[in-house]
């Protein structure tokens, strides 16, 4: 597996982190996330529609209170540069019955998408890190949590 040079955290601009947002539901949350990607210059506004379309065909809810909204493959031309946005909804947003506290919105052309997903999944498989992400109140905490922690994986291998 090729790796993203700077990891997921390298794609996350500081101004693409919003830790105190509120959304009335899934689609509202996706629009907020998409707008952050638009405002930070990562995508064209129409990418938000591609995100909504993608969510209607298959849920991007990952578990652990985290969803990873992103566009359809048809929306890739609307991406100016690969980027992430992290938007936290402290009151939770209803995601087809699941409460979502953190959205990690993804804009990635080509295969970058799979690598970012794999990395985020590795972070969230650690319940302590997932909880820390849901409860994060500082940008620094989010950036640190999205940086892969190799020590954790070594411990897991030892216990197998």
């Amino acid at each position: 597996m090729r790796s993203v040079p700077d990891g997921a955290a390298g794609l996350l601009a500081r101004d693409a982190i919003r830790l105190d947002a509120w959304a009335g539901g899934r689609d509202h949350a996706i629009r907020i996330c998409g707008q952050v990607l638009v405002d930070t210059g990562a995508v064209a506004p129409a990418y938000i529609d591609a995100m909504l379309e993608r969510e209607r065909s298959i849920s991007t809810y990952l578990g652990e209170g985290v969803a990873i909204p992103h566009g359809t493959s048809g929306g890739r031309d609307l991406i100016h540069r690969d980027a992430l946005a992290v938007v936290r909804f402290p009151d939770g947003a209803d995601w087809d019955g699941n409460p979502v506290t953190v959205c990690i919105a993804i804009a990635a052309r080509g295969d970058g998408h799979m690598e970012i997903l794999a990395e985020l999944a590795q972070v969230l498989m650690d319940p302590d890190r997932a909880r820390a992400l849901r409860e994060a109140t500082e940008d620094e905490q989010v950036l640190a949590l999205l940086t892969p922690d190799t020590e954790t994986r070594e411990e897991e291998e030892d216990s197998v």
Binding site: M1, S57, I58, L62, G63, E64, S73, D111, M114, E115, L117, A118, E119, L120, A121, Q122, L124, M125, R153, E156, E157, V160
Partner: protein
């Protein structure tokens, strides 16, 4: 411990709908099934996070493993799923 090696057929790799269908099928099996890539740590096949964490693309070989009398049929069914490009078969 029974094992099956299978090459991912889905054009988009093991994520999105192929991953969801696989995880759902794994959850229906009477025995716990694990999935790994190469010598990597195995993850539960019924966990979407675990399956996504593998980052398995089209052409990646994965290993499914399970124990017990029901392991054989369970592994055959799941390996069969991964060996097909479900998205190419089902119009969206």
């Amino acid at each position: 411990m029974a094992e099956r090696n299978v090459v991912i057929a889905a054009a988009q790799g093991l994520h999105a709908r192929p991953a969801q269908l696989f995880v759902q099928a794994a959850a229906r099996q009477p025995v716990p099934v694990s999935i790994r890539v190469g010598d990597g740590a195995p993850v539960p096949a019924n966990s979407i996070l675990g399956v996504l964490s593998l980052g398995a693309r089209q052409g990646t070989e994965v290993t499914l493993a399970a124990e017990g009398d029901a392991a054989g049929p369970a592994l055959d069914e799941l390996a069969g799923l991964l060996a097909r490009d479900l998205d190419a078969e089902q119009p969206a």
